[in-house]
């Protein structure tokens, strides 16, 4: 049998961020504290991107630094805060300044919009959102959602416009160079984003061999057929967590929450942790091997 060549879809973090042009619409993976594309957010800031629009269910520190740096000020989103730690400080300030534009959906609504994009149908039905201001208060979209009477049952049902973003960006624990991806733990809306975006970029904590993929096809959550680029970025979700690989850096997050209450504090954080470190390797050096080791997951628990 003629050996097929294994396609190597790897690019660097810098190259990935370069592909994402000013004004791009991005479906943003990760959910809550779990596997957000933090390293990408920081690199987009270093590359001075502007006018991005992000679609996601809920994201937190990663979005807040993008808002602080004014790389992204438009969101179609369900949730934006740092959960147990409080409201997102940059978001709060930039909203008061009148700079941020939201189109508000529920989590399920956003996840279904990604599913509709993956199925390549123009809309998805949902029973939720109806009866609330999410239906009638709009900012970015003319057609945010529509209520129709179901042609089969006669009852009202909401139709949501599907999302097929220019880029889908998600973080995984393992992937091979061809783009077969294995996500462990909760999946959030990442499976749908990966299948529904025009260009899908997966950031992986670790590259594994194609052989391992073929021995465990039941663990492949995103086949390479859906993936355009693979970026190997260890600790790519720091200061948040990646199940089974490392835990969140709580003291760092608490420092962030306190310091970024003021614009001055945020500018200091921006310089210290993003602009003054040359790249992701520089960031890892700044965090330090000792701290990274402390954050590494105990394999018995996954955090």
């Amino acid at each position: 049998m003629t050996e097929p060549s294994i396609e190597d879809k790897r690019i660097t973090l810098e190259e990935a961020a370069q592909k994402i042009h000013d004004g791009a619409h991005i479906a943003w993976g990760g959910f809550g504290y779990q596997r957000p594309p933090e390293a990408l957010a920081m690199e987009l800031i270093r590359q001075k991107k502007r006018n991005l629009r992000i679609y996601t269910c809920g994201s937190e520190h990663d979005l807040d630094i993008l808002v602080g740096a004014e790389a992204c000020l438009e969101f179609e989103v369900a949730f934006f805060a740092i959960e147990a730690l409080g409201l997102a400080p940059n978001l709060r300030r930039r909203t008061k300044e009148g700079k941020v534009q939201f189109e508000d959906y529920s989590n399920l609504a956003m996840a279904l919009r990604f599913l509709g994009g993956a199925l390549n149908v123009p809309f998805m039905p949902i029973r939720h959102m109806i009866g609330t201001n999410m239906m009638d208060k709009t900012r970015l979209r003319k057609d945010k959602a529509k209520v129709i009477d179901c042609p089969f049952t006669g009852t009202p049902i909401v139709l949501l416009p599907s999302v097929q973003a220019d880029f889908g960006v998600i973080c995984a624990q393992k992937a091979d160079v061809e783009g077969n991806v294995q996500i462990f733990g909760i999946k959030g809306e990442d499976n749908e984003i990966a299948r529904g975006s025009k260009t899908t970029i997966v950031f992986t904590e670790e590259i594994i061999s194609n052989e391992v993929i073929r021995e465990t096809p039941d663990l492949t959550t995103i086949p390479a057929l859906f993936v355009d680029y693979i970026v190997e970025v260890p600790f790519g979700s720091w200061p948040m967590q990646s199940y089974g690989v490392y835990d969140y850096d709580l003291p760092h997050l608490q420092m962030y929450m306190g310091q970024c209450k003021t614009e001055e504090g945020w500018q200091e954080y921006l310089n210290d942790w993003i602009l003054d470190v040359e790249n992701h390797d520089g960031l890892l050096k700044k965090i330090g091997e000792k701290r990274l080791k402390e954050l590494r997951a105990d394999k018995r628990y996954g955090y």
């Binding site: 809550g32 779990q34 269910c57 399920l108 996840a111 599913l115 109806i130 809306e189 835990d247």
Partner: protein, 257 residues
């Protein structure tokens, strides 16, 4: 008599609202503490579902996020949002959901999105997250938040998640399958909903709180029954178990007990 804080009282009231065998959707913070407390006391077969995707976990540590890796420990399954908020929640398979609120009106409609005018808001709150999904389809809703008169408003700045909307029949007309809000737990009292009007009604006041105080700290006409009982105090068993669940005082606060 045990000493307890108002936070502990809220967690115990939340726990008491969960019945054995129920499927519970709980966010981080006091709601999940309440649900976990129920599970280690009177409702051992309650199943807790986290919208991030972990279901029926046996987590040993408290989580800071509904997506926290801590919730993956000994989970029966680690799935996705379409599963939890779609197949389970919109599928009508969840008995009770916990929610917070920044504003609530007399029908239990809630706002978690904006304070102030939508076009130039004073504060951007977290938004719906899964809140609208839970409020729309869970069998019944338990609301938990600290008592502040500014939260109990005649008119919401923004309606994020449906309560009983404009009263009896209005949820059904829109095809919402969930039963809507059933209980409000604050640090001062418990409220339920009048079955005829679907309006908020005082159910019990916590020890040391007067009915008048509650009535003054609600900005709409609260239904107050002729006789308002006092909320039973938390037992030692419940308080002890509560602190075993949050030994570091992440949600209960430090050094208060």
């Amino acid at each position: 008599m045990e000493e307890y804080t108002s936070t502990e009282m809220m967690a115990v009231c939340g726990a008491n609202a969960v019945r054995d065998g129920e499927r519970v959707f709980a966010g981080t913070g006091l709601p999940v503490l309440g649900a976990m407390l129920a599970k280690v006391t009177h409702a051992p077969n309650a199943i807790i579902i986290y919208e991030g995707g972990n279901v029926d976990t046996q987590n040993k540590d408290l989580a800071l996020s509904v997506a926290d890796s801590r919730l993956g420990y000994r989970a029966a399954a680690s799935i996705g949002l379409i599963e939890t908020l779609g197949f389970l929640m919109m599928g009508g398979r969840v008995d009770v959901g916990f929610l917070g609120a920044a504003q609530i009106d007399e029908y239990g409609n809630i706002n978690t999105s904006y304070i102030g005018d939508f076009d130039s808001p004073k504060v951007r709150l977290p938004g719906s997250g899964g809140g609208n999904d839970i409020a729309s389809s869970a069998g019944r809703i338990i609301l938990m938040f600290t008592h502040d008169a500014r939260k109990f408003v005649k008119k919401l700045d923004y309606l994020t998640s449906p309560g009983h909307l404009s009263g009896p029949g209005s949820r059904e007309k829109l095809g919402l399958i969930g039963g809507g809000p059933a209980l409000v737990v604050t640090d001062k009292c418990q409220m339920d909903f009048d079955p005829n009007t679907k309006k908020i009604r005082l159910k019990s006041v916590h020890p040391g709180v007067t009915v008048d105080w509650v009535n003054e700290n609600v900005m709409f006409d609260l239904i107050i029954p002729g006789k308002v009982p006092t909320t039973p105090e938390p037992t030692k068993e419940y308080l002890d178990k509560l602190h075993q669940l949050d030994p570091q005082g992440i949600y209960l606060g430090k050094g208060q007990k």
